[in-house]
Amino acid sequence: MDPFLTSRMVTDILSGLTNGVIYGMVALSLVLIWRSTGVLNFAQGAMPMFATYIGFALLSYHFSYWWCVIACVIAGVLIGGLTERLLVRPLYGKPEINPIVVMVGFLIVLEAVAAAIWSSFPRSLPGPFSSIHWQLAGKPFALSPFIVYEIATGLLVMIAVAVLFRFTKLGLQLRASAVAPEVSRLLGVRVGRMLTLGWMLSTVVGVITTILLSSNFFSGLTPQINDGIFAFGFIAAAVGGLESPVGAIVVGVLLGIVNQFVTDYVNQNAVIIIALALLVVSLMIRPSGVFTKPTERRV
């Protein structure tokens, strides 16, 4: 068997890709909300976490993994929609700091309530596929059936979101409501409904990410499950450009691979430092993000 496939570099790339897909999805969910409502959602990790706890509560009633996934998605839709309607909508048109403060507060409340109801101990959820790595010629290979499922699901979600935005009537209305709400209203688009849908969609992407993380045999669901991931997702969204879903995904995936190489060749503790340095340098050189065209302004 080709030793290349089990080499250190290929192993790092594949492991990094697995994390990168997760970062890309978190970044994508942040970008979806930013583009549709101009809000930087600091509760973007906590909302899906809460929905996942609700959905997986069904496990104790002996429902299958897939039924629980469906329940999580439904809970995500409800939490995303209700958050936009009840918490965010009254803040439109107010100073930009208001939604940031409210969403940071919401993050704290959700994590505290989740800990009070379900405790802070990791709750291992049964993955649908084995997490044991395949072997090639007696050597461990970087992929397992679960990792393939994780990467495939991530790619599928990203492609589905891209197709929705690019090729469907609903996507056109979602994009129009985000960039030109008044003009959209004049054309008959129900902008309020589109904004709610944007939050629902974003939370569902977050829920799928959280399910993948929680289903991993080596981690498990906790109230803080998304905190660390959120930091990398945020960095990916900011570096890629908060206006660019493609940028968020590409930078998210690359960040995952870079992190893996830093972990392997430097030190695990250096990962966040290097990621933050990347953010600072990127903001200094291109504040609007690598994949977003700089805004031109007549003076």
Binding site: R175, A180, E182, V183, R185, L186, L187, V189, V191
Partner: protein, 235 residues
């Protein structure tokens, strides 16, 4: 037909429109003229539901529009081309048109073909981002986007703003021929009074929110006092 009666609109303590009343008849162009700050744009925004009036009524046929949401008013068949054109720069020409056609029960391809025939330059630039179009092309796109939905009423806010005289003349000709061929009711807000009066059937003149003239376009055009004091047209 749009019937406006005793319409008053305020911005805090400022009265933008004061007891405005007129009728825009079906198949006719009604020009709304006046200087900057006369309340012309506010009038169109109030008809479209973007601004809530303090008092008064707006009717389309027998249907009252005050209190309805903007998107529901648009779905009744009122197209509004806002000041500054309002094309979505991030979208291609075709995406702008697809968005315009979305709420109307029209065949998309047929609608696109009709607009490309009416405005050939848009057909040539269908894949181009609207931000890259010239001022005249953007105005055509804004018009085409409103027309593709087959509205029964079209509100046009300063369509000639920033356009070369030749382009303005072409645009006014297009508006007039659309009105004659499709029974379209047009309310045309213009600062360029002479261009608007040339194609309008009826005209009202607003001065600091009040209607100071309401007559046929030819009568308004012939009134020396109106021309001099309210329209800035000097012989």
């Amino acid at each position: 037909m749009i019937t406006i009666d005793d319409l008053t609109v305020t911005f805090g303590a400022v009265q933008a429109l004061r007891g405005v009343a007129f009728v825009a008849e079906t198949g006719k162009i009604t020009a709304v003229l006046g200087a900057n700050g006369a309340g012309k744009t506010t009038l169109l925004r109030t008809i479209s539901g973007l601004k809530e009036p303090k008092s008064g009524t707006i009717r389309m046929g027998e249907r009252h529009l005050v209190g309805m949401r903007t998107e529901d008013i648009a779905r009744l068949g009122i197209g509004h081309v806002p000041e500054g054109r309002g094309v979505i720069g991030e979208f291609t020409v075709e995406e702008n048109l697809r968005l315009g056609a979305m709420m109307a029960k029209v065949n998309l391809q047929q609608g696109l073909d009709e607009q490309y025939e009416q405005f050939p330059v848009l057909g040539e630039r269908r894949k181009q981002h609207a931000a890259k179009l010239s001022g005249g092309e953007r105005q055509m796109l804004a018009m085409a986007r409103a027309l593709i939905a087959k509205p029964s009423v079209l509100l046009l806010d300063e369509p000639s703003l920033g356009l070369a005289p030749l382009v303005t003349a072409q645009l006014m000709h297009t508006i007039r021929s659309l009105c004659e061929t499709s029974d379209l009711t047009v309310i045309l807000v213009e600062q360029n009074a002479s261009s608007a009066l040339r194609i309008a059937h009826h005209a009202i003149v607003l001065h600091v929110g009040k209607v100071v003239a309401n007559d046929t376009a030819s009568v308004v055009a012939a009134d020396g006092n109106l021309r001099q004091y309210y329209l800035g047209l000097v012989e």
